[in-house]
Every structure is written in C-alpha cells, then in structure tokens.
Symmetry: C2
Subunit: 283 residues, 2 copies
C-alpha cells in the first residue's frame, strides 16, 4: 500500500484507527477455548465486527510466538482471512525485530515473503539500536514499510530514548529518539518508512512533527495506556492524515464474555466517531 | 545455570566456545533437504560432532522463524535433543526481543517457559532501546539470564551505539553503549545479566571490562565477521573466564557437503585448541 493509498483510506473510512490484535491467550473469552483454534476464532470475530471502522490491524507477534508453532499458524490463518480485505486495510506486524544484516534479512522474509512463513504484512516494526544495516533488509521489499521505533509509550522510554546525545558537528544536544529519527531519514523516505511515536507524551508529537512533517506516525498508548485521541490528532495530524492511532486491549478485551466482539465494535465505533469528527474538521 | 557453574564448565571443557546454530535453510547441505526435518537433522549432527568442544549453543531465532511453524518445531526438537546435555551446555536464544512490559512478558514466556512454546533456554538476548520495563519481565525467571545488547559487531553499531551521550550530573560525554551498560546495572547484577560485546572492535573490550569487571560477555564477530580469539581473550578474560565467544557460519557451514558435521568439528576443534591454550595459561 502506498502513502497516497493509505491517506485515501483514512478519508474514505473517516478513521485512522489501528486495532492491535494482541490476542493474549489468558484473556480470551472462556467459551472460545473449546474451539479448534481459539486465537484465530477470536481474531476472526474481532475482524468481522470492526473492519469497516479501522484502517489497520496490528498483531503483536509476542502473543502468537508464546504459543509456539500453533500460534504462528493462528497468525497465518488471520492474515489469510484478511486477504479479501487487503485493499481497505494496512497490516502491521508488531515484531520490533532487528539483527545484523544477514539475520535481519531472515526477519524481513518472515513478515514480508508469503513463501517463507506464510505471512505477507504491509509493514513491520523495527528496533533501531543496531543501526542502518540492521534495518536495510526490511527496506529492500517493494511496497512494504518499516515502522522504526522512535519514541515508545512505556516508562522505560525515559531510560535511553530521552538521553541527550551530543552532536560535535552541530555543537548541540538532542534526545536520542530525535537522533534516531534524524539519522534514519538517510535510509529511506516517507514513502517507505514510518515511526512509532508514543502518545502518552503527546506534547512531544509537536517536536516529532517538526522533524517529520510528511511521515506517517504509528501512535500507540491510546486507551489502556492513557493517551487521548483529540490531543494526539491535535499534535500529530498532517495533510495526508499522517497518523495511525493504535488501540489494543481497550478494544479487543472491552468485554471478556460472549459479547466480546460486539463490545469491541462499540469501543472501536466510539473511537472512530471521534476520529470522524476530527477528519471532517481538518482534512 | 549459575555464574559459578558456567565458570566451572569453561575450566572443565577448556573452552569458552559458543556455536551459533544459525541453520539457514538456503545453506543446508542439499542431501539433507530430503529429510523429514532438514533443520533439526542438521542441528543434531552439528551437536553430535561438537558438544564436547563447546560450552554453549546459540540458535538465532530469525533462521527458524522465517520457516514458519515448522521452523519453531525444528527449534523445539533441537532443544529437546539437547536436554540430556543440559548440565554441560548453556543454551542461548538469540532473539533480540523487547517490547512494553505486558508484551515482553510474552517474549520471556516464549523462551523460558517450556509450557508456553516448548522452549526452555538458559538465556535470551534482549534489545535495550525501550528501557528497564521492557527487560524486567525476562529477569523475573529464576536461574535464567538476560544478555543485553551493549555493543554489537555490525557496522550499524556506529550509528547510535557510538553516539556520545551527555550526562548532566557528571558533566561528561560517553558513548551510548556505555550508558546502556552503566544504567542497566541497576536492573540486575552479574548473576542474572550478561552483555553482548562485539569482537570486531576488540580494543573496546578493555573499556567494557573496566565498567563490568565481573560480568560474562557474549562476544560475536569471531570467524566470518573477522575477530581474533587471542585478541578477544586478551581484552575480555576475567578470573571466572567471563567470556563466551560465538562463531556461527564459520563452524556450521565450514563445508556445504556430506562432510559438513566433520568439517564443523574440525573448525570448532581448531578454535577450542586456541581457547584451551589461553585457559591453561591464564585461568
């Protein structure tokens, strides 16, 4: 999916909602656990009830990986199920991978090459610590995206991302996450790369937008983690839309009972209505 | 495995060799591809021919993950096969994972809890960018280790790890990788945490040892990536041994033919003999 197509999707669906399919086994409604593949059944029902409200789904890979081979099967079946909806959905593997080039190449294959692990995501989240050659293999795929961790939404973001980095050239100090954002722009442009920008510090979105006027930002931390959609839109929106706001637990586990999918829809609709208002006002 | 046990293992086996089971499908000997599980068959033969020479095995998860569910099955079978040798081998999942706490907990389960994904590693490599709460879930397991990325062996290490970080308190500038090493010592001590220290810049090992006199260091970059065992030992050894030197491709793909396992043994033996000399001289 291109940047233009993604932008069009936001206008068409009046939404910039991404639903995190963090389908934690422990939290699945108990009546589903008798099913043959409870995780896939859960995802299917969430998708059926929400796909018109969301522009993206984002399974966090940890919740599948921790189930062993059957977790990867549930994930592949979920992608397969989404196949007929590919034109209207952007699919993100939240994997936070990266390794030396030779190895990152395998991670890129995992998430982008259907012949490898049966998966064919549009984008994968990538960790920046190991630098350019750990990210490049992900950039070699046509029409696929890297979403690089810039500023994350957890408290540990303060440990290193908010450390001040000294630039000899510019005789200045800047936060590490800004150095990451600035430096990584040499690797690919706004048609191939997005950034994770944690919403729980939405006042920082202004500063990120200053550096990245044209990039899409993937913004976690709404809902369970406490961020507000209006505030994020206020600071993050650009003329393409330019933001993908993720909510996971607050939508998919809105109810833990038999009404889980309807409750997820209600919660997603509530968020989408807020987004619709914003989109109609500003885009 | 405790630090003392690991140290004893080094003395007993006269080795600090870790063999990277980066069993890249593309590079497996062609005669194995007719087998039911080529990756497992390959690993089994490598293990049979090298386990007396190595103190550790380190599968890089990317090479399994990129094969989909069957890759995870090959990995679980490899761990199962190693089970009778657990007292004499330290098993490292080279996964470079980390996410917000809620999610890192799932990654920790994946690699440490046999009931989750059928895996029961001694250690897992973890990326530091997301900070303390992304690492803590891995530290909650008794008798398990976190191997945090300090300085990696790839060229991209220069992009961020070698950036100078400003410390207001100390009115000083230091490389990011040193800040990571210093700060993360508040999270756990040398009985629970090790660090990746890339050997291709072995002169930097001196500086890492100054900060971490007692920690074990996992040192990649020997062999295919160009580091030398003597130089690494020279700069990295402490009184416990304190180093685990990894070689992957240079051992397991020493030959691509039917003699692959014997060739792997020859290459591992060559490295172990160098280590034996060093251990007899200094430990």
């Amino acid at each position: 999916m291109t940047r233009r197509e993604l932008s069009q999707l936001i206008r068409n669906k009046e939404s910039f909602l991404c639903i995190g399919l963090d389908s934690d086994w422990e939290r699945l409604p108990s009546h589903l656990k008798k099913e043959d593949d409870p995780v896939f059944t859960f995802n299917k029902q969430i998708i059926d009830h929400t796909h018109d409200l969301a522009i993206a789904y984002k399974p966090n890979i940890a919740f599948y990986e921790s189930l062993g081979p059957r977790g990867w099967e549930s994930l592949a079946k979920t992608l397969e199920y989404l196949e007929p909806l590919r034109d209207e959905l952007f699919l993100i593997a939240d994997a936070k991978r990266a390794d030396i080039g030779n190895t990152s190449k395998q991670y890129a294959r995992t998430f982008f090459d259907k012949n490898a692990a049966g998966l064919d995501f549009d984008a994968v989240t990538v960790a920046p610590y190991m630098g350019s050659d750990s990210v490049e293999p992900f950039l070699e795929y046509d029409n696929k995206w890297v979403i690089l961790l810039g500023l994350t939404s957890n408290k540990g973001a303060f440990d290193f991302q908010m450390q001040k980095v000294w630039s000899e050239e510019q005789d200045s100090r800047d936060f590490l996450y800004k150095t990451v954002i600035r430096e990584s722009q040499h690797w690919a442009d706004e048609n191939k790369m997005m950034y994770v920008a944690g919403a729980t510090k939405s006042y920082l979105l202004n500063e990120i937008r200053e550096i990245l006027p044209d990039h899409f930002l993937l913004i976690p931390g709404i809902g369970a983690q406490g961020g507000s959609i209006e505030e994020v839109a206020n600071h993050g929106l650009n003329e393409d839309g330019g933001i993908i706001i993720n909510a996971s637990r607050s939508i998919i586990f809105a109810s833990g009972g038999r009404d889980f999918a309807a409750s997820a829809r209600a919660k997603a609709l509530e968020m989408q209505q807020i987004m619709k208002n914003i989109i109609n006002r500003y885009l």
